[in-house]
Protein backbone atom coordinates (compact mmCIF):
# COMPACT_ATOMS: atom_id res chain seq x y z
CA UNK A 1 0.00 0.00 0.00
CA UNK A 2 2.87 2.38 0.80
CA UNK A 3 4.31 2.10 -2.71
CA UNK A 4 1.02 2.91 -4.49
CA UNK A 5 1.55 6.71 -4.71
CA UNK A 6 5.02 6.16 -6.22
CA UNK A 7 3.68 3.72 -8.77
CA UNK A 8 0.90 6.14 -9.59
CA UNK A 9 3.40 8.97 -10.06
CA UNK A 10 5.60 6.85 -12.35
CA UNK A 11 2.55 5.77 -14.32
CA UNK A 12 1.42 9.42 -14.68
CA UNK A 13 4.91 10.55 -15.70
CA UNK A 14 5.03 7.85 -18.36
CA UNK A 15 1.79 9.10 -19.89
CA UNK A 16 2.93 12.72 -19.76
CA UNK A 17 6.15 11.84 -21.60
CA UNK A 18 4.23 9.76 -24.11
CA UNK A 19 1.87 12.65 -24.71
CA UNK A 20 4.75 15.07 -25.26
CA UNK A 21 6.52 12.81 -27.71
CA UNK A 22 3.41 11.97 -29.66
CA UNK A 23 2.26 15.58 -29.99
CA UNK A 24 5.74 16.80 -30.92
CA UNK A 25 5.94 14.42 -33.83
CA UNK A 26 2.53 14.79 -35.37
CA UNK A 27 2.96 15.49 -39.06
CA UNK A 28 2.70 19.06 -40.26
CA UNK A 29 1.41 19.76 -43.74
CA UNK A 30 4.31 19.97 -46.14
CA UNK A 31 6.82 18.39 -43.79
CA UNK A 32 7.41 14.81 -42.72
CA UNK A 33 7.54 15.64 -39.05
CA UNK A 34 7.16 18.69 -36.89
CA UNK A 35 10.44 20.57 -36.47
CA UNK A 36 12.68 19.71 -33.58
CA UNK A 37 12.17 23.20 -32.25
CA UNK A 38 8.60 22.24 -31.48
CA UNK A 39 9.78 19.73 -28.92
CA UNK A 40 11.73 22.37 -27.12
CA UNK A 41 8.70 24.46 -26.39
CA UNK A 42 6.23 21.84 -25.28
CA UNK A 43 6.42 22.07 -21.56
CA UNK A 44 5.98 18.85 -19.55
CA UNK A 45 3.55 20.80 -17.41
CA UNK A 46 1.50 21.66 -20.49
CA UNK A 47 1.52 18.62 -22.80
CA UNK A 48 -1.65 19.82 -24.55
CA UNK A 49 0.19 22.81 -25.97
CA UNK A 50 1.74 20.90 -28.84
CA UNK A 51 -1.56 19.38 -29.88
CA UNK A 52 -3.26 22.76 -29.74
CA UNK A 53 -0.55 24.27 -31.92
CA UNK A 54 -0.81 21.50 -34.47
CA UNK A 55 -4.59 21.83 -34.46
CA UNK A 56 -4.23 25.52 -35.28
CA UNK A 57 -1.84 24.63 -38.09
CA UNK A 58 -4.23 22.04 -39.47
CA UNK A 59 -7.25 24.34 -39.11
CA UNK A 60 -5.52 27.22 -40.87
CA UNK A 61 -3.83 26.08 -44.09
CA UNK A 62 -2.39 29.54 -44.72
CA UNK A 63 -0.85 29.50 -41.25
CA UNK A 64 0.63 26.06 -41.95
CA UNK A 65 1.99 27.19 -45.31
CA UNK A 66 3.55 30.26 -43.72
CA UNK A 67 4.97 28.26 -40.81
CA UNK A 68 6.42 25.51 -42.96
CA UNK A 69 8.47 27.86 -45.09
CA UNK A 70 10.22 29.35 -42.05
CA UNK A 71 13.75 28.52 -40.99
CA UNK A 72 14.15 26.49 -37.81
CA UNK A 73 14.99 29.60 -35.83
CA UNK A 74 11.96 31.42 -37.24
CA UNK A 75 9.77 28.41 -36.44
CA UNK A 76 11.02 28.59 -32.89
CA UNK A 77 10.06 32.28 -32.72
CA UNK A 78 6.69 31.66 -34.37
CA UNK A 79 5.85 28.90 -31.95
CA UNK A 80 6.70 31.10 -29.02
CA UNK A 81 4.65 33.93 -30.50
CA UNK A 82 1.75 31.56 -31.04
CA UNK A 83 1.81 30.41 -27.43
CA UNK A 84 2.08 33.89 -25.90
CA UNK A 85 -0.48 35.51 -28.19
CA UNK A 86 -2.96 32.66 -28.04
CA UNK A 87 -2.97 32.64 -24.27
CA UNK A 88 -2.70 36.30 -23.35
CA UNK A 89 -6.12 37.87 -23.59
CA UNK A 90 -6.27 41.19 -25.42
CA UNK A 91 -8.10 43.66 -23.16
CA UNK A 92 -10.12 45.19 -26.03
CA UNK A 93 -10.62 48.51 -24.26
CA UNK A 94 -11.31 51.94 -25.70
CA UNK A 95 -9.50 55.24 -25.32
CA UNK A 96 -9.54 57.16 -22.04
CA UNK A 97 -10.22 60.87 -21.72
CA UNK A 98 -6.85 62.58 -21.41
CA UNK A 99 -7.95 64.67 -18.45
CA UNK A 100 -8.81 61.59 -16.39
CA UNK A 101 -5.40 60.02 -16.97
CA UNK A 102 -3.74 63.36 -16.35
CA UNK A 103 -5.50 63.86 -13.00
CA UNK A 104 -4.70 60.30 -11.92
CA UNK A 105 -1.01 60.82 -12.65
CA UNK A 106 -0.98 64.06 -10.70
CA UNK A 107 -2.81 62.42 -7.77
CA UNK A 108 -0.32 59.49 -7.66
CA UNK A 109 2.53 62.01 -7.68
CA UNK A 110 5.03 59.41 -8.87
CA UNK A 111 8.08 61.34 -10.14
CA UNK A 112 8.66 59.19 -13.23
CA UNK A 113 5.02 59.45 -14.32
CA UNK A 114 4.94 63.22 -13.74
CA UNK A 115 8.11 63.51 -15.80
CA UNK A 116 6.60 61.52 -18.67
CA UNK A 117 3.33 63.48 -18.48
CA UNK A 118 5.19 66.80 -18.74
CA UNK A 119 7.28 65.56 -21.65
CA UNK A 120 4.26 64.29 -23.60
CA UNK A 121 2.24 67.44 -23.00
CA UNK A 122 5.15 69.67 -24.00
CA UNK A 123 6.11 67.67 -27.07
CA UNK A 124 5.13 69.00 -30.48
CA UNK A 125 1.62 67.72 -31.17
CA UNK A 126 1.43 64.87 -33.70
CA UNK A 127 0.64 65.74 -37.29
CA UNK A 128 -2.54 64.44 -38.87
CA UNK A 129 -0.61 61.53 -40.33
CA UNK A 130 1.24 60.75 -37.10
CA UNK A 131 -1.89 60.86 -34.93
CA UNK A 132 -0.21 59.72 -31.70
CA UNK A 133 2.73 60.69 -29.51
CA UNK A 134 4.29 58.44 -26.86
CA UNK A 135 6.72 59.19 -24.07
CA UNK A 136 8.87 56.37 -22.69
CA UNK A 137 11.20 56.48 -19.71
CA UNK A 138 13.18 54.20 -17.45
CA UNK A 139 14.22 55.40 -14.02
CA UNK A 140 17.29 53.15 -14.34
CA UNK A 141 18.48 55.31 -17.20
CA UNK A 142 17.42 58.69 -15.91
CA UNK A 143 17.86 61.54 -18.34
CA UNK A 144 15.10 62.75 -20.56
CA UNK A 145 11.88 61.09 -21.65
CA UNK A 146 12.03 59.57 -25.13
CA UNK A 147 9.34 60.99 -27.40
CA UNK A 148 8.23 59.18 -30.54
CA UNK A 149 5.35 59.45 -33.00
CA UNK A 150 3.62 56.91 -35.22
CA UNK A 151 5.87 56.44 -38.22
CA UNK A 152 4.51 54.41 -41.12
CA UNK A 153 7.84 54.48 -42.92
CA UNK A 154 9.74 52.97 -39.99
CA UNK A 155 11.65 49.82 -40.90
CA UNK A 156 10.57 47.22 -38.34
CA UNK A 157 13.84 45.37 -38.87
CA UNK A 158 15.37 48.14 -36.81
CA UNK A 159 13.41 47.05 -33.75
CA UNK A 160 15.39 45.45 -30.96
CA UNK A 161 15.02 41.63 -31.02
CA UNK A 162 12.85 41.62 -27.89
CA UNK A 163 10.30 43.84 -29.65
CA UNK A 164 10.73 42.35 -33.10
CA UNK A 165 10.17 38.74 -32.06
CA UNK A 166 6.38 38.68 -32.63
CA UNK A 167 6.19 41.13 -35.52
CA UNK A 168 6.33 38.62 -38.38
CA UNK A 169 3.70 36.46 -36.73
CA UNK A 170 1.40 39.43 -36.05
CA UNK A 171 1.87 40.67 -39.60
CA UNK A 172 1.06 37.23 -40.97
CA UNK A 173 -2.30 37.30 -39.15
CA UNK A 174 -2.97 40.85 -40.33
CA UNK A 175 -2.09 39.97 -43.94
CA UNK A 176 -4.47 37.04 -43.73
CA UNK A 177 -7.27 39.32 -42.51
CA UNK A 178 -6.59 41.88 -45.22
CA UNK A 179 -6.97 39.16 -47.83
CA UNK A 180 -10.29 37.94 -46.48
CA UNK A 181 -9.09 35.42 -43.90
CA UNK A 182 -10.25 35.03 -40.33
CA UNK A 183 -7.21 33.39 -38.80
CA UNK A 184 -7.30 36.09 -36.12
CA UNK A 185 -10.32 34.38 -34.61
CA UNK A 186 -8.26 31.27 -33.82
CA UNK A 187 -4.87 32.74 -33.14
CA UNK A 188 -5.82 35.69 -30.95
CA UNK A 189 -7.81 35.77 -27.79
CA UNK A 190 -10.50 38.47 -27.59
CA UNK A 191 -9.48 40.52 -30.64
CA UNK A 192 -12.64 41.65 -32.45
CA UNK A 193 -12.79 42.27 -36.19
CA UNK A 194 -12.77 46.04 -35.77
CA UNK A 195 -9.45 45.98 -33.90
CA UNK A 196 -7.66 43.77 -36.41
CA UNK A 197 -9.10 45.80 -39.28
CA UNK A 198 -7.75 49.05 -37.83
CA UNK A 199 -4.48 47.68 -36.51
CA UNK A 200 -2.31 48.78 -39.43
CA UNK A 201 1.07 47.23 -40.07
CA UNK A 202 2.78 45.81 -36.99
CA UNK A 203 5.54 47.73 -35.28
CA UNK A 204 5.36 51.39 -36.29
CA UNK A 205 3.19 52.91 -33.57
CA UNK A 206 4.56 55.53 -31.20
CA UNK A 207 4.59 53.35 -28.07
CA UNK A 208 6.64 50.67 -29.84
CA UNK A 209 9.14 53.16 -31.23
CA UNK A 210 9.56 54.98 -27.90
CA UNK A 211 9.98 51.68 -26.05
CA UNK A 212 12.47 50.51 -28.65
CA UNK A 213 14.68 53.53 -28.09
CA UNK A 214 14.65 53.06 -24.31
CA UNK A 215 15.51 49.35 -24.72
CA UNK A 216 18.38 50.33 -26.99
CA UNK A 217 19.71 52.78 -24.39
CA UNK A 218 19.24 50.35 -21.51
CA UNK A 219 21.27 47.79 -23.45
CA UNK A 220 24.01 50.33 -24.10
CA UNK A 221 24.09 51.00 -20.35
CA UNK A 222 24.25 47.26 -19.60
CA UNK A 223 20.89 47.39 -17.83
CA UNK A 224 18.75 45.26 -20.11
CA UNK A 225 19.06 41.51 -19.85
CA UNK A 226 15.97 40.13 -21.52
CA UNK A 227 12.22 40.39 -21.79
CA UNK A 228 11.70 40.72 -18.04
CA UNK A 229 13.49 44.05 -18.14
CA UNK A 230 10.74 45.55 -20.27
CA UNK A 231 9.09 46.28 -16.92
CA UNK A 232 11.81 48.86 -16.32
CA UNK A 233 10.07 51.01 -18.92
CA UNK A 234 7.03 53.24 -18.44
CA UNK A 235 5.05 54.52 -21.41
CA UNK A 236 2.30 57.10 -21.87
CA UNK A 237 0.41 57.54 -25.16
CA UNK A 238 -1.58 60.61 -26.22
CA UNK A 239 -3.64 60.93 -29.37
CA UNK A 240 -4.11 63.93 -31.59
CA UNK A 241 -7.87 64.13 -31.61
CA UNK A 242 -9.78 64.94 -28.42
CA UNK A 243 -11.64 61.62 -28.73
CA UNK A 244 -8.35 59.70 -28.76
CA UNK A 245 -7.12 61.11 -25.44
CA UNK A 246 -4.99 58.55 -23.64
CA UNK A 247 -5.04 55.99 -26.40
CA UNK A 248 -5.46 52.25 -25.98
CA UNK A 249 -3.01 49.92 -27.71
CA UNK A 250 -3.90 48.09 -30.88
CA UNK A 251 -3.45 44.27 -30.75
CA UNK A 252 -0.03 44.54 -32.40
CA UNK A 253 1.31 47.06 -29.89
CA UNK A 254 -0.28 45.19 -27.00
CA UNK A 255 1.76 42.06 -27.73
CA UNK A 256 4.94 43.78 -28.94
CA UNK A 257 5.18 45.88 -25.76
CA UNK A 258 3.91 43.17 -23.44
CA UNK A 259 5.68 43.69 -20.11
CA UNK A 260 6.08 47.44 -20.42
CA UNK A 261 4.29 49.51 -17.76
CA UNK A 262 1.59 51.41 -19.60
CA UNK A 263 0.40 54.52 -17.81
CA UNK A 264 -3.33 55.17 -17.71
CA UNK A 265 -4.68 53.01 -20.49
CA UNK A 266 -3.92 49.48 -21.61
Amino acid sequence: MKTYPIRKAIFYLFFVLLSILSSAHLPVEGTKTAPNTLEWHISPSDPGCGKAFLKDLNDNPKFAAWFNQLSDQAKYNALRAWKIIKNKVYPNVGHRPWEITRQEIIARDKPSEIKILNAVENAAPPTNSQVAVAGAYSHELGGSVIIRYNNRSFDVNQLEPELKQYVDYLQMIKNDFDTGGNMYKNLYSNVPELKIQNAGAAGFHAEVLATNEVVRRLKAAGKFNGMKDLNKIEVLVKGKSASFGNMCRCPHCFYITDGVKMIGNQ
Binding site: R96, P97, A124, P125, T127, N128, L194, Q197, S243, F244
Partner: protein, 161 residues
Amino acid sequence: MKRELIIDGVTYCFFYDKDLNLWRTVANTNLILRHEIDLEIDLNLLKNNLNWEEIKDFIAFIRNTNYKTKNANVTKSKIALHGLFKGVYRDSLSEKIKSNIDFDLSGIAYKNATKSSIGWVYEYELLFFPYNSTDMSMDIGSFAWHAKFRGNVLYGVYCDI
Protein backbone atom coordinates in the same frame (compact mmCIF):
# COMPACT_ATOMS: atom_id res chain seq x y z
CA MET B 1 13.19 76.19 -39.27
CA LYS B 2 10.40 78.62 -38.84
CA ARG B 3 8.46 80.84 -41.24
CA GLU B 4 5.93 83.55 -40.40
CA LEU B 5 3.24 84.71 -42.80
CA ILE B 6 1.12 87.75 -42.00
CA ILE B 7 -2.28 87.71 -43.65
CA ASP B 8 -4.94 90.32 -42.89
CA GLY B 9 -3.01 91.24 -39.76
CA VAL B 10 -2.93 87.65 -38.46
CA THR B 11 0.42 85.92 -38.06
CA TYR B 12 0.68 82.27 -39.12
CA CYS B 13 3.79 80.66 -37.73
CA PHE B 14 4.97 77.61 -39.69
CA PHE B 15 7.48 75.11 -38.32
CA TYR B 16 9.43 72.68 -40.45
CA ASP B 17 9.61 69.03 -39.42
CA LYS B 18 12.68 67.66 -41.13
CA ASP B 19 11.86 64.03 -40.33
CA LEU B 20 8.59 64.33 -42.22
CA ASN B 21 9.72 67.01 -44.67
CA LEU B 22 6.60 68.91 -43.73
CA TRP B 23 5.72 72.49 -42.81
CA ARG B 24 2.83 73.13 -40.47
CA THR B 25 1.11 75.71 -38.38
CA VAL B 26 -0.90 74.24 -35.52
CA ALA B 27 -4.15 74.93 -33.68
CA ASN B 28 -5.43 77.79 -35.83
CA THR B 29 -8.87 79.05 -34.83
CA ASN B 30 -9.21 81.64 -37.56
CA LEU B 31 -9.26 79.52 -40.71
CA ILE B 32 -12.58 77.73 -40.30
CA LEU B 33 -14.79 79.15 -37.60
CA ARG B 34 -15.35 77.04 -34.47
CA HIS B 35 -12.59 74.63 -35.42
CA GLU B 36 -9.04 74.47 -34.07
CA ILE B 37 -7.08 73.08 -36.98
CA ASP B 38 -3.56 72.57 -38.31
CA LEU B 39 -2.45 73.60 -41.76
CA GLU B 40 0.08 71.14 -43.16
CA ILE B 41 2.24 71.29 -46.27
CA ASP B 42 3.84 67.94 -46.97
CA LEU B 43 6.73 68.68 -49.32
CA ASN B 44 6.84 65.02 -50.36
CA LEU B 45 3.35 65.34 -51.82
CA LEU B 46 3.50 68.89 -53.15
CA LYS B 47 3.21 68.93 -56.92
CA ASN B 48 5.17 72.17 -57.36
CA ASN B 49 8.07 73.60 -55.40
CA LEU B 50 7.02 75.37 -52.21
CA ASN B 51 6.15 78.97 -52.94
CA TRP B 52 5.31 80.99 -49.84
CA GLU B 53 3.39 83.59 -51.85
CA GLU B 54 1.17 80.76 -53.08
CA ILE B 55 0.64 79.63 -49.48
CA LYS B 56 -0.27 83.18 -48.46
CA ASP B 57 -2.81 83.34 -51.27
CA PHE B 58 -4.22 79.96 -50.25
CA ILE B 59 -4.65 81.05 -46.63
CA ALA B 60 -6.32 84.25 -47.85
CA PHE B 61 -8.62 82.11 -50.02
CA ILE B 62 -9.64 79.98 -47.03
CA ARG B 63 -10.07 83.02 -44.81
CA ASN B 64 -12.07 84.94 -47.37
CA THR B 65 -14.41 82.12 -48.32
CA ASN B 66 -17.62 83.00 -46.57
CA TYR B 67 -18.72 81.20 -43.45
CA LYS B 68 -21.71 79.49 -45.07
CA THR B 69 -19.59 78.01 -47.86
CA LYS B 70 -16.92 76.77 -45.47
CA ASN B 71 -19.56 75.29 -43.22
CA ALA B 72 -21.17 73.60 -46.23
CA ASN B 73 -17.77 72.21 -47.25
CA VAL B 74 -17.35 70.65 -43.82
CA THR B 75 -20.86 69.24 -43.93
CA LYS B 76 -20.44 67.85 -47.46
CA SER B 77 -17.16 66.24 -46.39
CA LYS B 78 -18.78 64.58 -43.41
CA ILE B 79 -21.59 63.17 -45.55
CA ALA B 80 -19.16 61.74 -48.09
CA LEU B 81 -16.85 60.39 -45.39
CA HIS B 82 -19.77 58.82 -43.60
CA GLY B 83 -20.60 56.95 -46.80
CA LEU B 84 -17.01 55.76 -47.05
CA PHE B 85 -17.02 54.83 -43.38
CA LYS B 86 -20.13 52.68 -43.82
CA GLY B 87 -18.45 50.86 -46.69
CA VAL B 88 -15.13 50.33 -44.89
CA TYR B 89 -16.85 49.00 -41.77
CA ARG B 90 -19.71 47.22 -43.52
CA ASP B 91 -19.02 43.94 -41.73
CA SER B 92 -17.27 45.01 -38.57
CA LEU B 93 -19.64 47.59 -37.06
CA SER B 94 -23.36 47.51 -36.39
CA GLU B 95 -25.74 49.83 -38.25
CA LYS B 96 -26.50 51.54 -34.95
CA ILE B 97 -22.86 52.40 -34.29
CA LYS B 98 -22.33 53.49 -37.89
CA SER B 99 -25.27 55.86 -37.63
CA ASN B 100 -23.73 57.43 -34.51
CA ILE B 101 -20.39 58.22 -36.14
CA ASP B 102 -19.41 61.86 -36.53
CA PHE B 103 -16.18 63.41 -37.79
CA ASP B 104 -13.98 65.93 -36.03
CA LEU B 105 -12.22 68.41 -38.35
CA SER B 106 -8.54 68.38 -37.47
CA GLY B 107 -6.62 70.00 -40.28
CA ILE B 108 -6.07 71.16 -43.82
CA ALA B 109 -3.43 69.64 -46.06
CA TYR B 110 -2.37 71.95 -48.85
CA LYS B 111 -1.64 70.21 -52.17
CA ASN B 112 -1.41 72.41 -55.20
CA ALA B 113 -2.45 75.55 -57.11
CA THR B 114 -3.38 75.58 -60.79
CA LYS B 115 -4.12 78.51 -63.05
CA SER B 116 -7.55 78.39 -64.66
CA SER B 117 -9.75 80.75 -66.65
CA ILE B 118 -11.24 82.02 -63.39
CA GLY B 119 -7.88 82.53 -61.71
CA TRP B 120 -5.92 80.34 -59.30
CA VAL B 121 -7.64 77.21 -58.06
CA TYR B 122 -6.32 75.56 -54.92
CA GLU B 123 -6.26 71.85 -54.27
CA TYR B 124 -6.34 70.83 -50.63
CA GLU B 125 -7.79 68.27 -48.26
CA LEU B 126 -9.83 68.67 -45.11
CA LEU B 127 -8.64 66.13 -42.53
CA PHE B 128 -10.97 64.49 -40.06
CA PHE B 129 -10.99 61.90 -37.30
CA PRO B 130 -14.15 59.86 -36.67
CA TYR B 131 -15.71 59.32 -33.28
CA ASN B 132 -18.78 57.63 -31.88
CA SER B 133 -21.01 60.44 -30.66
CA THR B 134 -22.59 58.16 -28.04
CA ASP B 135 -19.29 56.64 -26.85
CA MET B 136 -16.31 58.93 -27.24
CA SER B 137 -13.93 56.29 -25.89
CA MET B 138 -14.64 53.84 -28.69
CA ASP B 139 -11.52 52.92 -30.67
CA ILE B 140 -12.38 53.24 -34.33
CA GLY B 141 -8.88 53.51 -35.65
CA SER B 142 -6.08 56.01 -35.36
CA PHE B 143 -5.75 57.36 -38.88
CA ALA B 144 -7.00 60.41 -40.72
CA TRP B 145 -9.95 60.61 -43.11
CA HIS B 146 -9.48 62.97 -46.06
CA ALA B 147 -11.94 65.05 -48.09
CA LYS B 148 -10.35 66.34 -51.32
CA PHE B 149 -11.26 69.80 -52.59
CA ARG B 150 -10.56 71.83 -55.68
CA GLY B 151 -11.56 75.35 -54.70
CA ASN B 152 -14.87 74.80 -52.96
CA VAL B 153 -15.69 71.67 -54.93
CA LEU B 154 -15.54 68.35 -53.10
CA TYR B 155 -14.29 65.68 -55.48
CA GLY B 156 -13.22 62.71 -53.40
CA VAL B 157 -12.70 61.10 -50.03
CA TYR B 158 -10.30 58.47 -48.71
CA CYS B 159 -8.81 57.28 -45.46
CA ASP B 160 -5.33 56.25 -44.32
CA ILE B 161 -6.33 52.77 -43.08
